[in-house]
């Protein structure tokens, strides 16, 4: 119980859920993403998130910029000109080039080992029965510890509110068997939702199919349970290096070394807490 790094088969069991559904997550297959941003709008409509500044960023068609306290889905647009390494058709002696326009809908990774959760002093950030990572708005006190802890820069404080917000994987919908709003809307099934084990198998198949068709650049990201966050609950099929999409190439849970540091402190805290609890129990029985 309570590992903070390395493979972990059952995070919700580890977090004390006796009767628990399968761990669910997102598999975002960017090879079929058409960059429509339905995920962004469906998310905001369902979660009634505030709209943000209307600013043309100049970063291709990405006017969202990044994930944040009011943006739980963010579609990145990457324009690249690729040298095909063969003579071009223009007859000017130059190599042929090809324009590629990559699109990818980013989201909270719902890490198997979530540093945001580990550092949260209030118990606002929890592991849910579905294996996801959730900020509990009624608990969060806006301390902000979680923000630097996230290796992906996902979670943030909402201006004017102060509390931290991020993707909930539509916790309220999961409870009644609905899919998250983004996956429900996604026109091309770029965002797939389901039991994580099934998604991982699907992703392996899809990757093999793309490799068979000569799409050599295709790769999975966040799919490996042995990676620095113990595998992500939201993983991706990318068509280029993660950095190209603005994703860290080798994220590591920032609390990996916490256990040794906190062991003594935790023991002390528990002793105090135990004494307080005993006092209450004693009073009740009186």
């Amino acid at each position: 119980m309570g590992r903070l790094s390395g493979p972990l088969a059952d995070p919700s069991g580890d977090a004390g859920y006796a009767d628990r559904p399968e761990r669910v997550g997102f598999f975002t297959d960017t090879s079929v993403c058409i960059g429509c941003k339905a995920c962004e709008v469906a998310c905001k409509e369902w979660n009634a998130l505030p709209a943000e500044d209307d600013v043309l960023t100049g970063m291709s068609y990405d006017n969202t910029g990044q994930l944040g306290a009011s943006t739980y889905r963010h579609v990145a647009f990457v324009e690249r000109t690729v040298d095909l390494g063969m003579p071009g058709l223009a007859g000017d002696g130059g190599d042929a080039t090809e324009v590629r326009w990559l699109m990818s809908s980013d989201v909270c990774k719902h890490c198997t080992h979530a540093a945001c959760l580990d550092v949260c002093p209030t118990g606002s950030l929890i592991r849910t029965e579905h294996g996801t990572v959730l900020v509990q708005e009624d608990i969060c006190n806006g301390c902000g510890y979680c923000i630097p802890a996230c290796p992906y820069g996902v979670i943030d404080q909402r201006p004017g509110d102060g509390r931290a917000f991020k993707c909930t994987m539509c916790q309220d919908r999961l409870g009644v068997g609905l899919q998250p709003a983004c996956a429900t809307a996604c026109p091309t099934e770029s965002i797939r939702f389901g039991p994580l084990d099934e998604l991982r198998a699907e992703a392996d198949e899809r990757l093999a199919a793309l490799h068979d068709r000569g799409v050599d650049d295709a790769r999975l990201y966040g799919h490996d349970a042995g990676d620095g966050v113990g595998g992500a609950g939201a993983f991706f099929l990318l068509l280029d290096e993660p950095e190209v999409y603005g994703l860290p190439p080798d994220p590591v849970v920032t609390t990996r070394d916490l256990p040794s540091m906190w062991r003594h402190a935790a023991a002390a805290a528990l002793a105090v807490a135990g004494a307080v609890a005993a006092a209450f129990v004693g009073r009740t029985s009186r």
Binding site: M1, Y17, A18, C36, E45, D138, T184, P187
Partner: protein
């Protein structure tokens, strides 16, 4: 709720007595989290509809409560859209509940500099006055070659591509009987 229940609900107690020793899951759940349920569960009605934007014709489900639309989502039963919506379709709730929607009649007098209020019933009567007057003044029975016309060239209309078939039908039927022929819609432009 007895005190024991209150106590048992305390995260710390749950943490110490349950299986969530580090207090990062079951023991730390708040009341709000436990009570979380989709707002669609509180709807009075769920209505089958069709997306009003482009012509793909995606199925929509419209949830409403107390006479207000509370959510719009793709209808998974639709063989056209299979429950999916684009960003515009996904924004339908904002469209139909937008605070920017005008909900009262506005009237601008000829040469007026500001909008004025007008009662809906009065507005329709005023429009009827103008239709009949314009029609009378611009009526053509025949042209200069003696050909039969039976029309007015004084009343034009543009619109229809976002309207229902039934609405277009009444428009064309009424305009034609009225003798108005410059009836057009987005399909042209």
């Amino acid at each position: 709720m007895g005190l024991r229940d209150v106590l048992a609900g305390w995260p710390l107690v749950r943490q110490l007595t349950g299986t969530d020793g580090l207090g990062r899951g079951a023991a730390a759940r708040s009341g709000r989290t436990d009570a979380a349920r989709p707002r669609t569960a509180d709807a009075d009605t769920v209505t089958a509809s069709v997306c009003p934007f482009c012509a793909v014709g995606c199925g929509q489900k419209v949830w409403s409560r107390d006479g207000k639309v509370t959510h719009v989502e793709g209808d998974p039963d639709s063989p056209i859209s299979r429950g999916r919506l684009c960003p515009k379709g996904s924004s339908t709730l904002s469209l139909v509940t937008s605070p920017s929607r005008v909900t009262t009649v506005r009237h601008r007098r000829p040469y007026g500099t500001e909008w004025e209020d007008l009662d809906l019933d009065t507005a329709v009567d005023m429009i009827v006055d103008r239709v009949l007057d314009t029609r009378r003044r611009t009526w053509q029975d025949t042209d200069d070659q003696g050909r039969y016309l039976r029309r007015t060239m004084g009343i034009a209309s543009l619109g229809g591509a976002t309207l229902d078939n039934e609405e277009n039908y009444l428009m064309k039927k009424l305009y034609t009987a009225m003798g108005a022929i410059q009836i057009e819609n987005q399909a042209r432009i």
